[in-house]
């Protein structure tokens, strides 16, 4: 696993931080690599802008910050406006397609979209949208093994919600396996134009 910078951003309450914890734990404990997760949040408990930065590598991470992310996961419009432009050319952008309208996208990016919140609601609890997103992330980026991330999900959520979160992970993962690189039709609907 080469040094990879990841940003996950949305609003407080979406499980942004936990998503990064799950991925970081998968990298550093279940895959024996190294991961450093830092977070930015405002004084509000919920609803404020929230972002997590995760650096994973096969050697110890010294500089803990993300400067040019290789992968950015965006779960709110505010986060899109703030963070979409910082992606490295050739990087991967993952969006919550019902919450994010894509515009002014520059550079050669791989864009993937998923209605994670809708899927989570269909599973019975909107709260697990982050596990849907983590599953989707795992499938489309292939950065970490599905086995490692799945174990990490199971280990990171409360026992009574374990099964539901694993279902959510599987849902996102399966959707990701079939997702196409480039511009899937959903993206055109939200205004994505490839340059």
């Amino acid at each position: 696993m080469r040094l990879t910078e990841i940003r996950i951003a949305g609003f407080g309450g979406q499980g942004v931080i936990l998503s990064a914890v799950v991925l970081g734990k998968a990298a550093s404990i279940y895959e024996n690599g190294f991961a450093t997760m830092t977070q930015n949040f405002g004084p509000e408990a919920r609803g404020g802008a929230c972002s997590a930065q995760l650096v994973v590598s096969d050697s110890p991470v010294l500089y803990p910050y993300v400067t040019r992310p290789d992968i950015t996961v965006i779960m709110s419009q505010e986060a899109y406006n703030r963070f979409a432009q910082e992606l490295r050319p050739g990087g991967t952008l993952i969006i919550e397609e019902d919450l994010v309208r894509v515009s002014d996208l520059k550079g050669d990016l791989k864009v993937y979209a998923i209605p994670a919140t809708r899927f989570a609601e269909e599973l019975g609890k909107r709260m697990v949208l982050n596990s849907v997103m983590v599953g989707f992330f795992t499938a489309v980026t292939k950065l970490l093994s599905a086995d490692a991330v799945r174990k990490s999900v199971a280990d990171s959520v409360p026992a009574n919600f374990r099964e539901l979160n694993l279902k959510a992970f599987d849902k996102g993962y399966e959707y990701g396996v079939t997702a196409k690189v480039g511009a899937p039709p959903e993206l055109e609907e939200v205004g994505y134009e490839k340059e």
């Binding site: 734990k25 991961a35 830092t38 949040f41 405002g42 991470v61």
Partner: protein
């Protein structure tokens, strides 16, 4: 002595610095904490409050930081290892009782997860601007020890060290984290209890008749007896003699206050920990601590790519300040570069110890984020040319 296995969460964890600090305290044997939760330190006591009842200890959420910082000392004199946790605004309120702990030689740990100040400042964002306050915040002459972790793993390891130093020297130890280190999540390996060395309370072995609360031998650290054990027991912030009785003479004051300083000063070489790299051929040495040391490392790597002869000195112990190391380096390097998340605190100590033998370049930052490594690189380049 080995750690009590009940408090040790042996295993590999992916946790933040605050949680790691809590686990370090539990492993070190802390069984009492009094606190008034404040961002970005809240997670330490939140976890402690959940964990400590399972290992036979107590957490009390006090009415404010003054109460927290004195309740913990009651816990210590009752026989527990104890600590409190706070951030800038709370740390300010604790100053009086840090002096009290120094004067009464109460072994305890104050964790300060530094955030932007002054006053309420930036609750959720980092700074390293309490470094001088940690050393000089209370009135009168005294010495403390301060440690600066730069990773969650060190938050665990060095919290144990902080408790051990507190017990060995009977001194309040300041554990100077910062918001980034506190909220940064990384792998933390907690070893089995039998691999963790803890220093027990320096309890007297003397009989009740022979015991003098503040009499010392060669190491200048008196032996302790707890309340209710039958020993003479008198704890006071007033200047006191060996019996613990108030005594207002200049002679008693001189003897006591010099001992409070000297018990730390004679052990400076043992207390001062640092990490160094590439100092042998260095022309410029970057001195940093806490989160800034990790940002500085990137700047050092960039300087190496340009062929500059740059070494690294990371202060793990900030107080007592490692004068000897700086004096030795100042005699053979051109300059020091000191980045820190304040407008110039530890850099003044470097400048003082260097005494003009090497130049000193501050790379200040008011807090709220960390340095851009380029800023530190620019200072390194400038220092190399001097």
């Amino acid at each position: 002595m080995k750690a009590d296995p009940h408090g040790v969460l042996t295993g590999t964890h992916f946790i933040d610095g605050d949680h790691a600090c809590c686990e370090g305290a539990l492993a070190a044997g802390a069984r009492f904490a009094a606190g008034y939760p404040i961002t970005p330190s809240t997670e330490v006591v939140e976890r402690f409050a959940a964990r400590v009842p399972m290992v036979g200890g107590t957490f009390i959420q006090m009415e404010d930081e003054l109460a927290a910082s004195i309740a913990l000392q009651g816990g210590v004199w009752g026989g527990a290892k104890a600590f409190t946790v706070t951030s800038g605004p709370g740390f300010s309120l604790m100053m009086e009782h840090i002096g009290y702990a120094a004067m009464t030689e109460t072994p305890c740990v104050f964790v300060d997860v530094q955030r932007g100040g002054p006053s309420t400042g930036l609750p959720t964002l980092p700074a390293q601007a309490d470094m001088m306050q940690a050393r000089w915040g209370s009135h009168g002459d005294y010495e403390i020890i301060a440690l600066c972790p730069n990773s969650p793993q060190e938050c665990f390891d060095l919290t144990i060290k902080a408790f051990n130093l507190a017990e060995e020297f009977r001194v309040p130890v300041m554990f100077m984290m910062d918001e980034v280190v506190g909220h940064m999540t990384e792998k933390v390996v907690i070893p089995p209890a039998d691999q963790i060395e803890v220093v027990p309370r320096k309890h007297t072995h003397k009989s009740v008749e022979d015991y003098l609360p503040y009499a010392t031998n060669g190491d200048m650290v008196p032996e302790m007896a707890h309340a209710g054990e039958g020993y003479k027991f008198h704890v006071t912030g007033l200047t006191h003699d060996e019996r613990g009785y108030p005594n207002m003479t200049p002679q008693t004051q001189d003897k006591l206050v010099r001992r409070l300083q000297n018990k730390i000063r004679i052990a400076v070489d043992r207390i001062c920990l640092f990490e160094e790299d590439g100092l042998e051929n260095a022309e410029v040495v970057v001195i940093s601590y806490g989160i800034t040391s990790r940002v500085a490392q990137r700047a050092i790597d960039m300087a190496h790519e340009r062929g500059l002869k740059v070494g690294k000195l990371r202060l793990i112990t900030a107080w007592p300040f490692p004068d000897k190391k700086i004096v030795e380096l100042a005699a053979r390097v051109k300059a020091f570069v000191v980045p820190e998340l304040n407008l110039g605190q530890m850099v003044r100590e470097v400048e003082r110890a260097a005494a003009g033998k090497a130049k000193t370049f501050a790379v200040s930052h008011a807090g709220g984020g960390v340095h851009n490594p380029e800023e530190i690189l620019r200072a390194i380049v400038e220092a190399s040319r001097c």
